[in-house]
């Protein structure tokens, strides 16, 4: 059994490349679109902020798997009639990215709302314009607050990227390679345990890195309540 597990591990590892690429591209789309949604919510006149909030609620309120299917099979087949083909990887990146944008917009919103009113008052009293207040006072503090949640979002993306395997991925990701291995050798437990192991190592490493980054950018003198 151990031998089967180790063999499965060796077979599945190359899938890391696709998994990481999926998560990284999706995170980047989410970051870009999420920031955009945030700016719309904070700076633009109604009804635009409501539309941004609607976007967030729709993507939070529907299952990721359904979103992946809508993008790949739904929109994908529609585009096919116009001669545009989207492969599963692209569809996966888009679906994960659109979904992550909703969550990242929420992360930014709550990070900004966590900044005390006093900071705005100080900025106003010293005649900063709204854009200056945002850039020099609110954003630098909000990013620090958002950092743990953003890193967590990246971890979630790495794990959720396994859902894309359902629509068939090439080159295969961690989960799809595990699937191949399991089906060809009939060693389901070993194969999926190998996949789980690799996801865990990836995610654990990311959490460790995120702790280092958080400490590096922590506001000096700021005492965290309850040492964790």
């Amino acid at each position: 059994m151990l031998e089967q597990y180790l063999n499965a591990l060796i077979y599945v590892i190359p899938g890391v490349q696709t998994t990481v690429a999926l998560a990284a591209f999706a995170f980047f789309i989410g970051l870009t679109l999420g920031s955009f949604l945030l700016l719309v919510r904070f700076f633009l006149p109604p009804p635009l902020p409501w539309l941004a909030t609607g976007y967030v609620e729709v993507f939070r309120g529907t299952p990721l798997l359904v979103q992946i299917f809508i993008v790949y099979f739904g929109v994908g087949s529609y585009l096919k009639t116009y001669g545009v083909n989207i492969d599963p990887f692209t569809a996966g990146v888009i679906a994960l990215g659109l979904n992550s944008a909703a969550y990242q917009a929420e992360i930014f919103r709550s990070a900004i709302q966590a900044i005390p009113l006093e900071q705005y008052h100080a900025a106003e009293a010293y005649a900063f314009r709204k854009s200056q207040t945002f850039r020099y006072i609110i954003l630098p503090q909000a990013l620090r607050t958002a950092l743990p949640a953003l890193m967590n979002e990246l971890v979630l993306l790495v794990k959720d990227s396994s859902l894309v395997a359902v629509i068939g991925l090439f080159p295969p990701d961690i989960f799809r390679r595990a699937d191949y291995y399991a089906a060809s050798k009939f060693t389901y437990l070993e194969a999926y345990l190998a996949a789980a192991t690799i996801y865990f190592v990836l995610c654990y490493a990311m959490v460790a890195v995120s702790r280092v980054i958080e400490q590096k950018y922590a506001i000096p003198g700021y005492l965290r309540r309850g040492a964790i």
């Binding site: 900071q119 106003e124 020099y136 700021y222």
Partner: protein, 243 residues
């Protein structure tokens, strides 16, 4: 006249907090505002530069009437010190002071730095220039906040209960700093309950009650011979619980 307020009214929704206040402050004058909690003195001070927007009335600061199109200009002439210091925690002490100078007052970095140094030396904290606000004691943070306000060379320095959030043993260092500032001739408008301090620096005391000025006059007159029963009781109470 550095400050002229006429018929100022401020309300939070249907709650009227400031109900028709007139006040003049001459250049170089130090005016202390006192009053029971909830009397509207803090809101009054904030409303002068529209941190809370007044509902009615006019405010002229350093010759400029506060309006939508002049508010930034007016704020550039006012130094404001908050009860909870409101320093920017993600910036070093020195950057807290130079940021408004560079971004709002358009000074060069070198000029801003020399002003920051001057201000920090006045409050005795130049040696903390590269520290971060949360690494300092409350008293030190408030002195930095005072330096930040002075560095813009304000026409009027407004202080909203600058010692109320401090531990008792830190109050004196801030008051001493303010006494030092007062000697420099800056026009000051101070909300405080520190009677000894008021006696030392204030030319005039204004007593707020129920959103209005109940009594005002030269410091000694107001503190030694209060005309109203309300002020008499108020002074008795803060004597009893104060230092």
């Amino acid at each position: 006249m550095t400050l002229a307020v006429r018929g100022l009214e401020v309300a939070y929704g249907s709650l009227e907090v400031v109900r028709g206040v007139d006040l003049d402050v001459e250049r170089g004058e130090k005016v202390v505002i006192m009053g029971p909690s909830g009397s509207g003195k803090s809101t009054f001070l904030k409303s002068l530069i529209w941190l809370v927007k007044p509902r009615r009335g006019s405010v002229i600061i350093d010759g400029v009437e506060v309006r939508e199109d002049t508010i930034l200009q007016v704020r550039r002439r006012v130094g404001f010190v908050f009860q909870h210091y409101n320093l920017f925690p993600h910036m070093r002490v020195v950057d807290n002071i130079t940021l408004p100078l560079v971004k709002v007052h358009k000074l060069s970095k070198a000029e801003a730095l020399s002003r920051a140094r001057e201000a920090l030396e006045l409050v005795g904290l130049w040696d903390k220039a590269t520290a971060y606000p949360l690494q300092l004691s409350g008293g030190q943070q408030q002195r930095v906040a005072i330096a930040r306000a002075l560095a813009i060379r304000p026409a009027v320095l407004m202080l909203d209960e600058p010692t109320s959030a401090l531990d008792p043993e830190l109050v004196e260092e801030v008051l001493d700093t303010l006494r030092e500032v007062a000697r420099g001739g800056t026009t000051m408008l101070i909300v405080t309950h520190e009677l000894d301090f008021a006696r030392d620096v204030a030319d005039r005391v204004v007593f707020f009650d129920g959103g209005k000025i109940l009594e005002e006059g030269p410091t000694r007159d107001v503190l030694e011979n209060p005309k109203t029963e309300r002020l008499r009781q108020f002074l008795k109470r803060i004597h009893k619980y104060g230092s």
